[in-house]
Symmetry: C2
Subunit: 193 residues, 2 copies
Amino acid sequence: MIILGVDPGLTRCGVGVIEAGAYRRLSFIHVDVVRSAPDVSQDLRLLAIYNGLVEKIERFAPDVVSIERVFAQSNHNTVLGTAQAAGLAMLAAAQRGIPVALHTPTEAKLAITGDGRAQKIQVERMVTRILNLSAMPTPADAADALALAICHALHPAGALQGGEREQHLTPAQRQWAQAAQKTRRRSSTDRGM
Amino acid sequence: MIILGVDPGLTRCGVGVIEAGAYRRLSFIHVDVVRSAPDVSQDLRLLAIYNGLVEKIERFAPDVVSIERVFAQSNHNTVLGTAQAAGLAMLAAAQRGIPVALHTPTEAKLAITGDGRAQKIQVERMVTRILNLSAMPTPADAADALALAICHALHPAGALQGGEREQHLTPAQRQWAQAAQKTRRRSSTDRGM
């Protein structure tokens, strides 16, 4: 299963692609940052981010897109741009019938380091180790996008898919949701051991 | 000039279309609400809103899309969905080379009623009068979308277009920006009288 992680942002939008194989073997495929020039108007910045995300999604044809869940309580000026970039990633996936999963930063940190309050550098080191990379992924902040992809591979339960969602799924999405549910059941059993 | 106003929202997204003729004569063309079902996942809701907005933009081929500017300080749970819907409207316009203008609710109220803190009902009454409608526009909350369109017709200066924007414009956009700038200069003169 190919998982494309998105660390949303209007200026820099991290994209990380991994393959999750049997026995949870994870392999690195791609990492990059989609950018928009801060000096152009917001509509053209959103268009640049959207086009960049579409290019990545079409190139890597992921089975699922894992996006950081954005919260309103973040009191930054950038939160709306971040939410908009996340929205564009959701749109680009939904337009292609690709399921979307949202994971909180805490979920991602917990899944990767075992500590929901891990430092950025700890997450980067673990991403490097999990994906068996010879060096930390560059650009550094794109490691978050890989972390979101890894998080989804290890703990897909944070995904959007609920019971009521299934009614609205395309056949491809339904197939995925059922597979994901099986994975989830299996991992619940794992956790029970 | 055809102006399409958008009152962004994830559940209900108001769309209002007017024509601004010579001597600031404004005519009503269309008003509607694009909806998404609250019980489906966020990605599919965004897709529904986007598809609805694209349908309106392609049907009415506006010269400009006037969207309510969303602020982070709105402490509602809905603010991120509202920002995302606004982002989709900007994307849909930018993909078609249609200029986008952002106007604050205060700008819209001020332009329409002369009072930036006007009540919703005052705005609705003035929208009805300005567009010479026989009854208040329905659905009622779509009046806000008409208000945004009217606001842009009367005070286009709230638009995004800045000096640096012009470098990134398509020929159609540049033509519009130049025309808009002329209008703005003219209206500055008006205000100076």
